[in-house]
């Protein structure tokens, strides 16, 4: 599949063009730096603030990873539980969907109020945001197993637990990974939000300070770091998918020859 490599070029060209236009517009219109700094000014700011950015990025990364792992694990367990015990599913699934309608904006400050300014409210917030896409994707994967395989396994006498461990669970891996990819982006965004309401470190906190000081270039520099962080996390998951999921798009290059 050669489209993987050539697929990277068009967005890079578009991005470069946008940056160039941006630079030209700022220069031509002579905009104030606190309203819209130029890409080069942002780059320079990023260079100057590199130590602080690195410090806050580390904090965000740690928080994101903890929240992501806890949230994804919870999503995985919930999906497995709901799948294996039907009455649990009928009772809890609607409530899970409902839980996603609680606005994070309202929940964040409450969590800080209940659990203080430590790590706990942040981890809880990220967990609440990330478990859902994993649980839903995984549940879809578990219940959508191939009818032919299912019949075959039952014909040769597979028990309920063999059906789950040997067929449904491995069969749901592609779905699990698409859930993980969504959860990865969510976890970074929610970590940033959590840092902006109850924290003294992290890129969310850094942005908050920069905004209060009208240091717009710093805001943009932080945004760039956040985007890179998200991409990196996404990339790691895509890599894991390629390694562990047989039959994912990337490993199907040999194709059928029948």
């Amino acid at each position: 599949m050669g489209s993987k490599r050539t697929g990277l070029l068009p967005p890079v060209i578009v991005l470069a063009a946008v940056l160039l236009l941006w630079q030209a517009a700022v220069w031509l219109l002579n905009t104030d730096a606190y309203i819209l700094p130029s890409p080069t000014a942002i780059a320079k700011q990023a260079y100057d603030s590199a130590p602080q950015l690195a410090h806050h990025m580390r904090s965000t990364l740690v928080m994101t990873l903890i929240g992501f792992v806890v949230g994804a694990s919870l999503g995985f367990l919930i999906a497995a539980l709901l799948h294996v015990i039907p009455w649990v599913k009928s009772g809890f699934y609607p409530l899970l969907v409902l839980s996603q309608n609680v606005p994070i904006m309202a929940l964040g400050p409450l969590l800080v109020l209940w659990f203080g300014f430590g790590m706990l409210p942040r981890v809880i917030l990220i967990t609440l945001v990330t478990f859902f896409p994993v649980a839903v994707a995984m549940m879809t994967g578990l219940s959508k197993s191939d009818g032919g395989l299912y019949n075959y396994m039952r014909m040769i006498g597979a028990t309920q637990s063999q059906l789950f461990w040997r067929m449904e669970l491995p069969g749901s891996m592609p779905h699990l990974f698409s859930g993980l990819k969504i959860a990865a982006s969510y976890s970074v965004i929610s970590a940033i939000y959590a840092e902006s309401i109850g924290s003294d470190s992290g890129l969310g906190y850094f942005i908050l300070l920069a905004q209060h000081g009208f240091e717009t270039a710093k805001v943009f520099a932080a945004i760039a770091v956040i985007v890179l962080l998200s991409l990196a996390l996404f990339g790691v998951i895509a890599l894991a998918e390629r390694m562990f999921v047989r039959g994912s798009a990337s490993s199907r290059r040999e194709g059928k020859q029948s």
Binding site: Y152, M155, I156, G157, Q162, R166, S258
Partner: protein, 257 residues
């Protein structure tokens, strides 16, 4: 000779939820498969052959009648048969060898013994080269060979094969028939086989049971007289052609008579 499978007066009626439409699929089916015997069910599509397999496999309950394997009633209980479905049904995330091992361990064979069996037999049938490949790189015919091997190695006495070659092209299908024939003749498992193809049935079986259209009933039983080991040269045999004609007449839809 003792009966490995004994099906007596089996009837299956699918009841709709609203109980308005009852669909009668099997109508008083009785037959048996002896030890080491190759019995083929041949009948129009939709006549209830797969349903019959699902009853024998314990996936569905009959409306009435009994199924026993080695003299023990197995109605509604699973795991008593080795099975080869129409589609190869290999787990796409497992290698060929791991697929065979999975089926054998489900049938109760230990992990190590299953692996040794799989290795040995993949080599014996010339498939050692694909042992570590994944199913999606194998052709349809190769996948069906693996699927057959998996059933052959399962420890259950009775093998049920549900139209195993119907998804293959004509040429591959002929090769597969010859391959299965030679493997089976050197192993002599008890087989219940389902097919649409008259030639296939005549080439492979000891006995052929002809089913009517739904609801399926056994309309004729044909004993296939050809000596074993057989080969594809049978196709030109006048007796073969005669029997083929006879079966063809039996299977002709009533409306066409």
């Amino acid at each position: 000779m003792s009966a490995v499978l004994e099906v007596s007066h089996l009837t299956k009626i699918f009841k709709n939820d609203r109980k308005t439409h009852e669909k009668s699929v099997l109508d008083d089916i009785s037959f048996h498969v002896d030890e080491g015997e190759f019995v083929t069910l041949i009948g129009p599509s939709g006549s209830g052959k797969t349903t019959l397999f699902h009853l024998i496999g314990g996936l569905e309950l009959p409306t009435s009648g009994d199924i026993s394997i080695h003299g023990v009633s197995t109605v509604g209980s699973r795991g008593h048969i080795a099975y080869m479905p129409q589609q190869a049904s290999l787990m796409p995330w497992l290698t060929i060898e791991a697929n065979i091992v999975l089926s054998l361990t489900i049938a109760g064979i230990g992990q190590r013994e299953a692996r040794e069996l799989a290795r040995e037999w993949l080599g014996r049938v010339g498939l050692e080269g694909v042992a570590d490949s994944y199913p999606d790189v194998l052709s349809g015919g190769m996948q069906q060979r693996v699927s057959f091997l998996r059933a052959l190695l399962s420890p259950q006495k009775l093998m049920c094969l549900d139209e195993p070659f119907s998804a293959l092209d004509a040429l591959t299908r002929q090769h597969m028939q010859a391959w299965l024939l030679s493997l089976w003749e050197s192993n002599r498992r008890s087989v219940l086989f389902v097919t649409h193809s008259i030639e296939e049935a005549l080439l492979l079986s000891d006995r052929i049971l002809v089913l009517s259209a739904a609801p399926a009933a056994i309309v004729r039983e044909v004993r296939v007289p050809f000596a074993r080991p057989r080969s594809e040269t049978l196709w030109g045999d006048p007796a073969f052609i005669g029997l083929k004609q006879e079966l063809y007449e039996m299977l002709r839809p009533a409306s066409a008579l």
